[in-house]
Structure formats: structure tokens, C-alpha cells
Amino acid sequence: MANLSQTMTVPGQQDTPPEKAAIEVANLSHIYAGAQGAVPALEDISMSVGSGRFVVIVGPSGCGKTSLLMMLAGLRAQSQGTILCHGRPISNPDPQRVGVIFQEASLYPWLTALDNIEFPLSLRGAPRDERRRRAQAMLILVGLEGFGERYPHELSGGMKQRVSIARGLVQDPPVLLMDEPFAALDEQTRMTMGHELLRIWSKTSKTVVFITHSLTEAVFLADEVLVMSARPGRIIDRIAVTLTRPRTYEMMATDAFGQLRERIWHQIRKAD
């Protein structure tokens, strides 16, 4: 039945997606004007991320994942194509709609954990009480109660990344973009953080776009995995991860998990 409706879809007359899309990218391409000539980085990317979904992007190094994320965040303008976030175009950073979490926690070393979390609120001049209250709530959400007065250099890598997530969540944006947020962490902390992220996500019902190089992490976290080709980056496969939620560490040992991981690996090898 599902197959039938797909084959019958005519371009320009697609059936409406079952859920409202939080992010819609249509025919996005990007060319960098480098010193050694033009670098085509992204080619004809179209994707749709349903509201509340957890989508993971994987692809070979240099295929344009970070570039795509920057454009979704409104931090960089694409050469061609459109990006809609909840139906409205994104052209400038809009922290009310989109929160970004970067690879390095990139916390400000001159601010305490709490002040770092408050930073986005203080930029728009929120009253002090409100700032404190919301930052405290975020600190508790990410499991760092009591660490608010510490400076980043007094925190472990995992704790820093938790603060960074809290900072991304403090304005309560419906969409969260994460660029390899756990890449700098050791394997064990990384898995714990993934688990933590799912816990937080299930409580906040955000739409998440998450970039990673780790296939295990991709399968563990995602509703859907998008595989990109080597430069210029195109989306060459979309893999639905049908594992039930909540995800557990035990699932990683199952055949279903292994097969999904295998399929992504196969696609990436083709892509490179």
C-alpha cells in the first residue's frame, strides 16, 4: 500500500507529509569561492525533518555537513535553494527558533557554568531573576545541579558539553542543531552523553538535527539517518531506524542494530 502510493507520486504533487515539518530544505546547493577556485560543497540537497524528530546526518569528512548545519542555523548563506523552518525562511540566526551546539563545547572561559547558560538570555536583555531561574532549571535538566559556579576549566569534557547543551536549550527553541557535539569525548562518556541527550530530548520534544561520524551513535540516537556523499555533498540515502524507544545500551548488541549499522556503513563506503 505504502509502496503503491510512492510509485504513484507525481513530481510537484506530493502527498502531504504525515506530520508537520520543522525544517524543509529544497534544492540547496553551495559553492565556496576559495582562493584556489570555486569549491562545490553541497549539491541539490532536499530534506524534510518532521517536528519532534531526531535526524542524524553522517557522511565522509569534508562532505559539507558542517556547512549544511551553518545554513540551517542562518549563520551562513547558501548559494542556491531554500530553507524553511516552521514554514518561514531562515536567513539570519534566530535563537528563538533554532539552537546550535558545536563540536567543541566552546563555552566562554571567563564565565561560570551558570553565566554561560545565561549568556543567550542576557544578550536579549532578559531580567536577572528570570535568567537565573531558567539557567538553574537547565542546569538541573542536564544533571549538573551544584556545579553552576564552576568555571569551564574546572569541569570535565562531558560536563562542559552538558553545559553547552543547557545553553542551547535555555531559550527553549523548538529546533536543536548539533555538530558532532560528543566527538571530543572518550567512547564511554560519549555513550553516556548520547543516552542523556535522548532523556533530555524525550522530556522536551525538540526537533534535533545531529551530525556524527560514529555509526553506533547514529543508530542509537536517530529516528532517521541521512547519508551524504563525498564532496560535493548530496543526500544518497535515508535510513529509517525502527528500533523502539526508549533506546537502551542492550539494543546495541541486537541483530537489528547491527544490520542498520551495516547498511549505513555500506552506503558511506560507496559515498567516499
Partner: protein, 250 residues
């Protein structure tokens, strides 16, 4: 080693040096004409400190140091930020700057004397000239030290240009700038001294070089102690400012 032990060791070393300074010349182990005993030097310092012309010299030197510093720091900071922030100015001036920086500035001193005569302005201009380079290069380095990630994060949270400047650039550069301030003060003080010793009618540097030429060793060493005290004072003044500015240190 505990903190107290370290301090004790330091004091012991200092006492040892001072005792050697007093005792070795006193007992003719070293020639007291070349190195007068500490006691003689200190009593000379006491006498000098009562003299009006010494007061005047201290006043003139201090004024030169302060004025040159107040000119060089903002000037160097603005120029440094400009060459760091503007790709064009950076490309044009940075190589030149590094070449000029490598030249000993004292060879320009005769030009300052020709331009300003042997005056207050000559010392200030020369010291400010040498210090501006240091501040400029430090400021440019400080700007370049600001991590792009920090700026990106602020932009992603919708920071305006002014907010990025005040909330990211300034605090991020602060430790380097404060460090630079102290080093600039050392260069600045050295500049004033060189200018005074080279050609001057007053100032501590001028007095010291005069005593040296006339082989007045007690006066010379008293002058050196006095000068060291003034230099340490300026250094501490900058450090006091530094401590008040830097809430965080890594």
C-alpha cells in the same frame, strides 16, 4: 615546599645578597671604590632624598613615564586592532611593522633630539614611540587570539556587532592585554631612561649617567636603588590595575 618555606628561602637569599654587599667591600674583599658598602649607599640615598634637585628629577622622570604611557597605550591599541581587523591594512603594514620592530629603537634617538631639542617632549616622544610598537603588536596578537568559535556561538545566539565586541572580544583579550600593559610599561620606562641618559638636563636617568661619568659610586648606586624602586612602583601600579580587571585567570 610550602608557601611559607618559599617565602623564607627568598628572604634568606635577599639577606645573603645584602649582607655580601655590606661585608665584602667593608673588608676589602672587593674594591669599595667600585662597589661601596650597602650602608654607605643607603646613607647616601637618605641624603639624596632630602635634596630638592632629586625631588625635581624624580618628578620629571615620573611625569615623562606617565605621559608617554598614556599616549602609547591607546595609540598602539587602536593601531593594533586596526591591522588585526582589517585584512587590507594587515597585509600592507604587518610585514613592515615586524621589520621596524626588529630594529633597535635607540638609533632613532638623534632624530628625536633634532626634532624636539633636549626637552620633556623629546623623552616622551621617544618613549611613546618605542612603546607604541610593543602595544600595537600585543593588541594585534590579542585580537587574533580570539577564537572564531567564540564569535560563532555569539552570532548563533543573535548577538549584535557591539555585543560581540563587548561580550566576546574584550573579555577574551583581557588576559593578554593586561600582560601586554605590564610589558609595555617596562619598555616605556626603559625608553625614558635611555632618552634621559643620552641627552638631558634633568631626570633620574640624567643624574645617574652624570654620577657614573664622575665616578661617584655611592651616588650612582643610590640612584640605581632609587630608580629600581620607582620602576617597581610603576610595575605594581599596573599589576594593581590588572588584578582589579581580571576576574578570571586560567
Amino acid at each position: 615546599m610550602s608557601r611559607a618555606q618559599i617565602i623564607m628561602t627568598r628572604l634568606a637569599l635577599l639577606a645573603l645578597v645584602l649582607a655580601a654587599w655590606e661585608l665584602l667591600p667593608r673588608h676589602q674583599v672587593v674594591n669599595p671604590l667600585l662597589l661601596p658598602p650597602l650602608g654607605d649607599v643607603l646613607s647616601m640615598l637618605g641624603k639624596l632624598l632630602l635634596q630638592a634637585r632629586v625631588h625635581e628629577a624624580i618628578g620629571v622622570t615620573a611625569a615623562e613615564v606617565v605621559v608617554a604611557f598614556l599616549i602609547a597605550v591607546p595609540l598602539g591599541a587602536v593601531l593594533g586592532v586596526l591591522i588585526a581587523e582589517s585584512d587590507y591594512l594587515g597585509e600592507v603594514f604587518k610585514p613592515m611593522l615586524f621589520y621596524v620592530f626588529s630594529i633597535p629603537k635607540s638609533i632613532f634617538l638623534p632624530m628625536f633630539i633634532l626634532a624636539f631639542g633636549i626637552t620633556f617632549a623629546q623623552k616622551v616622544a621617544y618613549a611613546a614611540f618605542t612603546t607604541t610598537f610593543v602595544v600595537m603588536i600585543s593588541a594585534a596578537t590579542a585580537v587574533e587570539s580570539v577564537k572564531q568559535d567564540y564569535i560563532l556561538v555569539a552570532r548563533s545566539y543573535g548577538a549584535t556587532r557591539a555585543q560581540i565586541l563587548m561580550r566576546v572580544y574584550v573579555p577574551s583579550m583581557m588576559p593578554l592585554l593586561l600582560e601586554a600593559l605590564r610589558i609595555s610599561m617596562i619598555f616605556n620606562f626603559t625608553g625614558v631612561m635611555i632618552a634621559e641618559m643620552y641627552a638631558s638636563r634633568t631626570g633620574i636617568g640624567h643624574m645617574i649617567s652624570g654620577w657614573g661619568e664622575n665616578f661617584q659610586m655611592p651616588e650612582l648606586f643610590a640612584g640605581v636603588i632609587l630608580l629600581s624602586a620607582v620602576a617597581v612602583l610603576f610595575n605594581e601600579a599596573v599589576r594593581f590595575f590588572e588584578a582589579r580587571c581580571s576576574a578570571w585567570r586560567t
